[in-house]
Subunit: 492 residues, 2 copies
């Protein structure tokens, strides 16, 4: 167990908060709700970014950058979007500070530098981007526009938690423009699939792809696709969303194009995003009471080598061997660290790398050298094995792949064991309280029922799974007819 780390079974929420800090991922800043992402946490985020960016470019997207600020009048233009975000907006009202006349060591916002129009710090960029696209689009030849932006956004949340819900967070937001409804929907679906592929095959996080119900949709969207993951405490986490925006923004900003036939039509839109919230999903999918567990794909250090030595001579002998090993592993593209600090004991090093989720640890002492072997320990299973130095590089390369697969399969089994079909509201409540996880239930399709269920159980509709079958049934709450099951869960 991690030193001083609360057990998950004792207090899951406390375990999470402690782990984020002890594994050196992030910490709260002196700005309410804003976090500092520490180098180790940021290195993991950079790996996510690099892989996502590659996938976006492979699917024909380019990066660009749009302003941090949105003038209030633009923000207001798409009503539903404005209404959806108005309560969380940071507002810039002044553009200058001056010395406080009552206290010369202090500064105040200069009353003579009040903005004529307030600026909103972007909570999302549809407004500023569609106002820009207006100038870029004249004819069908200018379409599609396939753009992504890596940026910071601000949503003034009242209750914040590191990575999961912060006032400022980092994300990417794709914003695309199309000449047909069909093409915009295909884009929306494609990007949700890209997210699902990334979550499962890169982050080892199994997800369910589906559509949000009307009440859970993005403000301004006609349809929202999502990937939903399940955390170890049985709560769901929305890990990514892709929105079919219809013509809501092109109408709000009057963005029309001339068709091949010479007609004027409004442009069709999609937007899609994932954020540093994925760090929270990563932590709560794989980690344990000893700290972080990282899939090798996301590990800044994939293998750490700890020498066990009593004197300088022993260390020198170990180093001679390790230097070659390190070089060979680096040549294979494996990130490896040789921790030969003599100021820290091996036990303390073991604990640190366990807490930080380094997938594989190699320990090596004089006896191992004598036997031409090393001790290999897996972070995910704690399994220790003596492995021959011959062919060690290939062994480790395969082991990293094995760990990546095992983590996914373990999470998949847990997730699959936590999808429960229920057929009555009693059963719904009982499963929710005792087992948690996703509840697959019939629903009458009304917002009223969704709200009532949320009020009574705190469970929300997570998604209408893309793979769900048509099945006649009755709503678990209202008893009214239903044509398919959807997923409910308590959620982050």
């Amino acid at each position: 167990m991690g030193k001083g780390l609360t057990k998950r079974s004792e207090d899951y929420s406390k375990w999470y908060n402690e782990l984020v800090v002890k594994a050196d991922l992030a910490e709260n800043s002196s700005v309410r709700g804003c976090m500092v992402i520490k180098p180790y946490g940021y290195a993991i985020w950079e790996k996510m970014q690099a892989e996502l960016d590659k996938k976006f470019k492979e699917t024909g997207h380019q990066n660009a950058y749009f302003p941090l600020f949105v003038p209030k009048s633009l923000f207001e233009a798409e009503e539903k979007n404005a209404e959806g975000f108005a309560k969380e907006c940071a507002v810039v009202t002044h553009y200058r500070l001056k010395t406080d006349p009552e206290n010369p060591s202090k500064l105040i916002a200069d009353p003579n530098a009040k903005l004529e129009e307030e600026l909103i710090v972007r909570p999302t960029s549809e407004a500023i981007i569609w106002n820009t696209y207006k100038g870029w689009i004249e004819s069908y030849r200018d379409l599609p526009i396939l753009i992504n932006q890596w940026a910071n956004v601000v949503r003034w949340e009242m209750r914040t938690r590191l990575f999961l819900r912060t006032a400022e967070f980092l994300w990417q937001e794709g914003h695309t423009a199309h000449s047909t409804k069909q093409e915009a929907i295909a884009e929306t679906q494609q990007m949700n699939k890209v997210y699902a592929d990334f979550a499962e095959n890169f982050m080892a996080i199994p997800v369910i792809q589906g559509n949000k119900t009307e009440s859970e949709r993005f403000a301004g969207a006609e349809d929202t696709y999502c990937i939903e993951a399940l955390m170890q405490d049985g709560k769901a986490l929305q890990a990514g969303t892709s929105h079919f925006l219809g013509q809501s923004f092109s109408k709000a900003f009057d963005v029309k194009f001339t068709t091949k036939e010479g007609k004027q039509e409004h442009v069709w839109a999609s937007s899609w995003g994932v954020s540093t919230r994925l760090m929270g999903a990563l932590i709560m999918t794989h980690s344990d009471d000893s700290g972080l567990v990282l899939p090798p794909n996301l590990a800044p250090i994939q293998i750490v080598i700890v020498p066990i030595f009593k004197n300088e001579e022993q260390l020198t002998r170990i180093e001679t061997y390790v230097n070659t090993l390190v070089k060979n592993l680096k040549d294979k593209g494996i990130s490896v660290k040789f921790d030969h600090r003599d100021s820290v004991r091996p036990g303390a090093k073991f604990a640190q790398y366990e807490m930080q989720g380094v997938p594989v640890r190699i320990a090596i002492g004089p006896k191992d050298l004598d036997k031409n072997q090393v001790e290999v320990a897996r972070r995910d299973t704690f399994e220790k094995t003596s492995v021959s130095q011959e062919g060690l590089e290939e062994y480790l390369e395969n082991l990293l792949k094995q760990i990546q697969d095992d983590l996914f399969n373990k999470a998949l089994e847990f997730r699959n064991n936590h999808i429960t079909e229920v057929n009555s509201f009693e059963e719904f409540k009982q499963v929710l309280e005792t087992k948690g996880g996703f509840i697959s239930a019939h629903w009458d399709g009304t917002i009223e029922t969704e709200e009532k269920i949320k009020e009574l159980t705190k469970a929300t509709t997570r998604c209408i799974p893309l793979e769900g079958a048509i099945e006649e049934g009755v709503c678990v709450y209202s008893g009214k007819p239903s044509k398919r099951r959807i997923l409910f869960a308590k959620a982050y």
Copy 2:
């Protein structure tokens, strides 16, 4: 000449503004002073980022992320820094919007959601970062801290120009903490050298390394190192700065460490940054009256291939050859585009790629195929050559290297021809008005003289060159004694 592009000799400033837009690099947004960086411009910035990031990591730095907002009380803590930036600060005062009671379709900042303490949108992050470092540093073992951040910052400039001076810009800011003064100075110097190496060997922009005079230093720094480039119109451009901050921030935020000997001492600091301003330097160093000229290292498309064809059959024949060529070039890591659009004429394609600065253009028609050759055109010199298809890949690979070198040498020659030693104020004014460029002159070391020269000529001190020799002389303005020449210029 670029279609509709103003000539540099007619109006350099207008040429620049037009080029940025016509080459599809950036445009003004509807937010005062903030720009939209378009995909083509952003792709160039991404190449700068990737190279710089590699250099930072090679020199032992890690990336992290700190909040966008700085609480006013923290911002005030380091007085000189606060004073230096106070007049350019965007200030967040509210965290919520609500429906305007007088006009239900409008929103207003909710008076009930006024922040107790205003938040400054970071103009630079020393304050928030040093307030964070306070929690990270206890002993000499915690030092050095070598961190970089890629971020957006906001400085409310009154007169803005795309890339050169914008209210919001993108940059990187390194912030390091050290146990000795010597080490912090060495870091400051090292990073200025990294910038110089990057500018010269990656961007093909010759720079002069030097120190700023006291009045031109970063607010809060004890010493500012810089790299100064020279634009084609004879004006200088500060392309990067590296600051030795002494103990000003560690004292303002009370960041102390325990030395090996058990004493408590304040930490020593450096900070250093380059920004999207480098895009302006790039444009104004290499480009011409036909548009952008890009060094191959920074070109999103290094080679464009334009087929010359009259019918489908000819295009098919060309494509068969080009597909292999494209594959071979990509295998060599060269980015190549085959523009086979039949809706655009070759002449229009040529003009577009000239405007966008693609270093090498290949044109290929049926006659070229018959002769086993292609036509290769250089963007920088407009030189056209018929080149055999045999060994073409190696020819092109070498040509790209040649262009990179030639651009640097051309800019270096121009820069060296525009450093003029003057020994009187008359000569100073005459050179400044007729020839421009850097003026190497003796200066008495006082702020008064600097101000007077600026007032009379608009020239500012650019730097005290690191390589300048000790030389007895008298100040060109005051006639007082001086021990070395420094560089003056009109500047961006």
